[in-house]
Amino acid sequence: MSPTSDESLLTVADACLVLSHRLSEWMSNAPTMEEDIALGNIALDLLGQARGLLQVLGDETGSTEDGLAYFREAQEFRNPLICELPNGDFAFTLLRLLFVSIWLARVWPQLAATTDNADVRGVAEKAVKENAYHLRHASTWCVRLGDGTDESHGRLLRALDELWPYRGEIASPQWYDAVEPVLTEATLTMPPRDAWTQRSSADGWHTEHLGYMLAEMQSLARAHPGATW
């Protein structure tokens, strides 16, 4: 995809915001304290990226970053569906992070090179480095899980089966080329590129999960509009 229009800028912003919230749900529940902090760091990186873009979009639409994050309905979000799926187990979370990070590894440099907005370029250039680490973290974990025990291999395989139909909005020839070697190293076979995919969120259609997630994410801001601390 080529995120140059506001609509697709919103896609990137919402992807970061929604995935950030999903990752933040791991706080205090990750398998180790170190991984808890790692997922928190990644969630905060994504939140910062989302904020940077939502500020720009808010300025352009007479809203604010908070207005866009907390006072839109699910149908107004444009994140790829894969970002909003519930975390599942650790393998599912890390494979999803891998898929999205590989997509963003293409999105951010394109955005930095094509945007005529200096603020967007600033967000994108910073995000290139942050995303490189997310991608590295997710890749090493997927290889470790896939090439690990029978239990971890089985969990990653199940995650792959569940996530594959949701690749449609983020996949490209380059995306498949980047995904395949990681899966191979993780001793998994990449499913067919032309397998069935879910529809996209471009017209505001979402899975049932986004509404529940937003209800929690937005409840404080809606109960106390304009609250500061």
Binding site: P31, T32, M33, E34, E35, I37, A38, N41, Y133, R136, H137, T140, R144
Partner: protein
């Protein structure tokens, strides 16, 4: 993963160099299954506020430590040798990191 297995993840000592020109200093430890994960965990746990430009990790089991019971014979003899402290000359203002 059971709590038992989780406890078996090896411990690694983490050393950070806060900026070029300084030496690596011990900052703490992390659990990790391999060296690669140890570096990533150290990055996530100890460099969140821009503390470092370089990370070393060492398996804690590889650290050889002095015995606390030996502290009198190891360290006390140095305490009364004041002439070993470089306090008898002025350090020029331009010399940093001392």
């Amino acid at each position: 993963m059971s709590a038992q297995q989780r406890e078996q993840w090896p411990l690694w000592e983490v050393f950070l160099r806060s900026r070029n020109g300084l030496h690596h200093a011990h900052v703490g430890s992390v659990h990790a299954v391999d060296a690669e994960m140890a570096v990533e965990n150290a990055r996530d746990v100890y460099t969140r506020r821009g503390e470092g430009v370089s990370i070393w990790v060492v398996p804690s089991a590889q650290i050889v430590a002095s015995d606390p019971a030996d502290k009198d014979e190891l360290f006390e003899p140095a305490l009364n040798k004041v002439y070993r402290h470089p306090t008898f000359y002025e350090i020029p203002d331009g010399v940093a990191n001392i």
